[in-house]
Amino acid sequence: MRKTLLLLVAAAVIAAPAAAQLRLGPLIPRRPTTAAPPQAQPVPGQSPTDALRADFAAQSGGTTVYFAAGSAQLTPQARTILAAQAMWLRQHPTVPVRVEGYGDPTDTRDHALAMGAERAGEARDYLVLLGVPSVQVSAMTWGKERPGPPSAVTVAP
């Protein structure tokens, strides 16, 4: 895994037990449009949290922000996705979002842990810079302690 990834995870207002959280597979990115509805359209058979998560991913062009190996600098592509995410979050001010940072799997454990935290912090700071209230965004790191899925959103009920 050459690229490292950073996972943007929307979490519910009420903290949910980890066991209740769900993972989604890769989603097809779509450009956000100015005509995007502020609320997700419910899909039959889909829970409201799933719908919210799917909408976030679709509207913001992805939930995964990539960095160069060994770097916590935001790339132009990363800024594009984060800008779209910030737009969605400003439209959904009651939905807290959690940024989860990952290190490089071939790094040593503690450096990977700090690198994941640094990357998560960079992404969070950029969202806040773009007008997302800081209380809406939390950040944490998995280092290399969890295999990072290529794209994932978790929304607690």
Partner: protein
């Protein structure tokens, strides 16, 4: 829980080992010192005598097993039929052992006591010179016979190599079970020979990097329990725990000072990981590094006066050494590869590290003055070396080709790494000093 271990009879005679005697035994010579281990005996007679002879034979086998793990000593096979009388313990027939090629000899006795415990005595001799190198004695409960034997092995090892033995030591590590995407991680501790294996944390949360206090009664480790990684202190006897410092900041990479009074660790504030020191029982953390970037994996020198750590302030991870108060920071490694997870050896002479280039991680050593760099393993995924008390051997984590981590030990003499037997996968090993 910790067994009371009464040292008696001879006091500490290890210190009496003379340099000339050690030299006669060629310490550090490429070929190992041959040591004879005649069966330990007993002064008891009758039924009790037979019972104690059996116990003494167990102790003999334990010592032989211990010494066979070292690269410096070569144990002659013990033979139970090779009966050794009690007077011979203090007056060995040196000629007999010289003829068998032995340069050293360890023997001793086990004596029963009215209270049910044993008196164990061990003696180490220079066979060529026909003189005693050291002796040690204990009163132990029957369940502590293993520890007494480890202490005897340690006496032989120290008498011959001049370095502390690593037989009566503990190892802490992270026990890993379950599928790759749902690993269950628990802190585990065990004796260095694999006995007395315990799980110290329940496994519901991710745990990392256990680090034993010098006397192995406490453990500093990192837990994801509070959402972000934070250092916690666990009292191994009582099971009580507490966060190292209050507050919600991310803290990681803890290590005890050699005297156990302080803990150094990294704290993440904003995009910066810096190194801090705090009293082992609490207090106000003191910041030691301020450079931008990630400063982590600090390790005290054996005298506590210096700290080696890794920093990516130059762009890649490199090793740095500073005084214990954070002053006089200087870079130790200067190469295109990355250097990480340094640990200072107990004798102060070497620093072990993880070498990283591309996707390859290997274990290496370097002198504290930056000379003598040498890679010991071939990788491709080795990391987190921790020194044995002898400073002649390291334990480390190797991720096998199928992606599962195991614990290995490797001696500095160039021999191949040996996989350790543990009940499941294991990572992040930490090897304690010799226990009191």
């Amino acid at each position: 829980m910790t067994p009371r271990f009464a040292r008696i009879l001879f006091g500490v005679a290890i210190a009496c080992v003379s340099a000339s005697a050690s030299a006669a035994l060629q310490p550090g010579a490429p070929d190992a010192t041959v040591i004879a281990i005649p069966p330990m005996t007993t002064p008891d007679s009758g039924t009790k005598g037979n019972e104690m002879l059996a116990v003494a034979w167990q102790a003999t086998q334990l010592i032989e097993t211990d010494l066979r793990q070292t690269s410096e000593l070569m144990a002659l096979p013990s033979d139970r039929k090779d009966y050794y009388s009690y007077p011979e313990v203090t007056a060995p027939t040196f000629r007999k052992w010289r003829d068998k090629g032995a340069k050293a000899l360890i023997t001793g006795f086990v004596k029963s006591r009215p209270d049910g415990r044993y008196t164990v005595g061990c003696y180490v001799y220079d066979v060529d010179k026909g003189r005693e190198l050291g002796r040690i004695g204990f009163v132990v409960a029957p369940s502590d016979l293993r520890r007494a034997a480890h202490k005897c092995s340690g006496l032989a090892y120290q008498s011959i190599t001049g370095s502390p033995g690593m037989f009566d030591t503990r190892i802490a590590y992270v026990a890993e079970t379950g599928a790759p995407d749902a690993r269950v991680k628990r802190i585990a501790t065990m004796d260095s020979d694999g006995y007395n294996h315990h799980y110290e944390t329940p496994g519901g949360t991710i745990v990392l990097t256990p680090r034993l206090s010098p006397n192995a009664n406490r453990l500093a480790y990192v837990s994801f329990q509070g959402g972000v990684p934070q250092v916690r202190i666990l009292d191994l006897a009582s099971g009580e725990q507490r966060p190292l410092i209050p507050g919600g900041a991310m803290t990681f990479a803890p290590r005890y000072s050699p005297d156990g009074s302080k803990i150094i660790f990294s704290m993440m504030l904003g995009p910066n990981a810096d190194i801090y020191v705090v009293g082992a029982t609490g207090g106000m953390p003191q910041r030691l590094t301020t450079s931008p970037g990630i400063d982590t994996d600090p390790s005290f020198s054996n005298d506590g006066s210096k700290i080696v750590f890794e920093s990516d302030r130059s762009g890649t991870q490199q090793l740095y050494v500073m005084n214990a108060d954070g002053s006089h920071q200087r870079r130790l490694t200067f190469s295109a590869a990355a250097y990480a997870t340094p640990e200072w050896s107990p004798d102060g002479k070497l620093i072990a590290f993880t070498w990283r280039s591309g996707d390859t991680r290997r274990i290496g050593i370097i002198s504290p003055d930056g000379t003598g760099e040498k890679l010991l393993t071939s990788g491709p995924a080795d990391e987190m070396p921790s020194w044995a008390a002898s400073s002649h051997e390291l334990i480390f984590q190797r991720t096998e080709t199928y992606g599962r981590p195991s614990l290995y030990r490797i001696a500095l003499d160039g021999s191949a790494p040996r996989k350790m037997t543990i009940p499941q996968d294991g990572s992040d090993p930490d090897w304690s000093g010799t226990l009191d």
